[in-house]
């Protein structure tokens, strides 16, 4: 870590959510950002877009800060929600030292190579499947994320989910909130 990074860090929390298209990484990023708005915090969000989006991995990044956010572009995330193996390969090298990984062990088949990272395991896709819809794996992982980081209040995340799916069926909101709670309950600290 350069001197500059040392000087700059500490004010902003930079998060990446990465997986393959269809795993809901953009939705997960959106929920985190909306929860921040509910809590009155400064936040920016970005997603990979256009041709990039069709290239395999999709990712969303969120920056949260108590002060002004300088760049919405995240190069060295402090935290990563990793939904599949290619995303671990892509992001592990760029996570800030001491950073946190939330690993979807259903689709990530190795441990991180770096020993300066913390990791939490959650069988997000498996749990989502048990809940009846594999597409809520993102929310299961999100549950593990907020339980581990305590960055957001569960109530604000639940509110964000309710807001986001307001136009959809009530059952969908309920399923996502169950997924969130399962994720909070079933995370495993990596040894």
């Amino acid at each position: 870590m350069s001197d500059a990074e040392t000087v700059m860090s500490g004010q902003e929390t930079k998060i990446v959510i990465a997986g393959f298209g269809g795993q809901g990484v953009v939705v997960a990023g959106n929920i985190i950002a909306r929860a921040c708005v509910i809590e009155g915090r400064n936040v920016t969000g970005m997603i990979s877009y256009g041709a990039e989006m069709r290239g395999g991995t999709a990712n969303a990044t969120v920056v949260i800060s108590e002060g002004e956010i300088a760049s919405p572009v995240v190069e060295t995330p402090d935290m990563a929600i990793i939904m599949n193996q290619p995303s671990l390969d892509k992001f592990e090298p760029v996570i800030a030292g001491g950073g946190l990984l939330i690993l979807n062990t259903s689709l990530v088949d190795r441990r991180p190579h770096r020993d300066d990272l913390r990791a939490v395991q959650i069988a997000a896709s498996q749990i989502a499947h048990e809940l009846g819809n594999v597409r809520v794996a993102n929310i299961v992982a999100l549950g593990a994320f907020i339980r581990k980081t305590k960055l957001l209040r569960p109530a604000s995340v639940e509110q964000a989910i309710a807001d986001l799916f307001a136009s959809k069926k009530a059952a969908l909101v309920e399923l996502n909130i169950r997924a969130l709670n399962e994720g909070m309950a079933r995370l495993v600290e990596a040894s």
Partner: protein, 355 residues
Amino acid sequence: MKILLKGNEVMCEAAIQAGCRFFAGYPITPQNEVPEYMSHRMPAVGGAFVQAESEIAAINMLFGASAAGARCMTSSSSPGISLKQEGISYITAAELPCVIANMQRGGPGLGNIRASQADYWQAVKGGGHGDYRLIVLGPSTLPELYTLTMNAFDYADHYRNPVLILGDGILGQMAEPVELTPYAPVVDLPEKDFVLDGCAGRKPRVIKTLYLRPALELVHRNELLQAKYDKISSELSLFEEIETADAELIVAAYGITARIAKGAVRTARRNGLKVGMIRPITLWPFPEEPFMRAARTAEKFLVVEMSNGQFIEDVKLATACRRPVEFLGKGGGWYPTPEAIFEKISTMCEKSLAD
């Protein structure tokens, strides 16, 4: 209440709040959310949305819509803006108000879809043919994109001139909470006495840009336009200054780059470095006054831009080259990190101490 929207959507909502009732555009990344958003919002507010067959058609549809009296807008990204230059020249010559957004991407050519600021010259110096000027606004956050887009319609109507919102792929694609405040005009809005709506109860009107006879008619026409541009220059100058009073080093940047640079300037201050920043908000007219002032007190300048040295020329002009101006920038989709800018600032400050 703040809501979370993407930059492209923030801009659309601001336009609608400001009474924009005609939008024509053509999809191009990274501004696709604009036509998508407008396609459902425009009809909902009783306006018209047209997905044009080309950027050329889109800007010419604005030529017609503006002549018909509507507040109107088009948006695109760099290669598409190049195509619009013909229409922009005509609209400027005809003195019709409209708002054009450029969410810049990497160039030249098809380039890439990453953010860029390489259309600065095209925006502030020309692009189309003839001696004309666009009012160019460079928002650096989404709340500012919201207010400046509403203001853009006012400036366009007030000066009867197209206003260009010079954004970039990051600004268009990022999401940030924005308070959707109600629209209120920021300048006097003259009656539109040029509108073509049929000549009932009045003499027929002509909107034209051809001046063949007498021989000097176009010269006089140009003189009138230049007088208007002089008036705009004397009246419109928007900028943000950060800790410039005692600054030894002044960072100059606009748009998203300025937002990123601001983080670096704050860090520099926390580290005891006497660094300030000037962020032009109107890129044309260029706010020369804060630069002239800073050139008297600061020792040197640093320009940061996402292009290979375009904006720097205006900084050098505004400071009359009285102080050294260093450069941090690249084209083609490169963007600076706050860390990289801080490192450059540190190096420049150390060099000052060594001198």
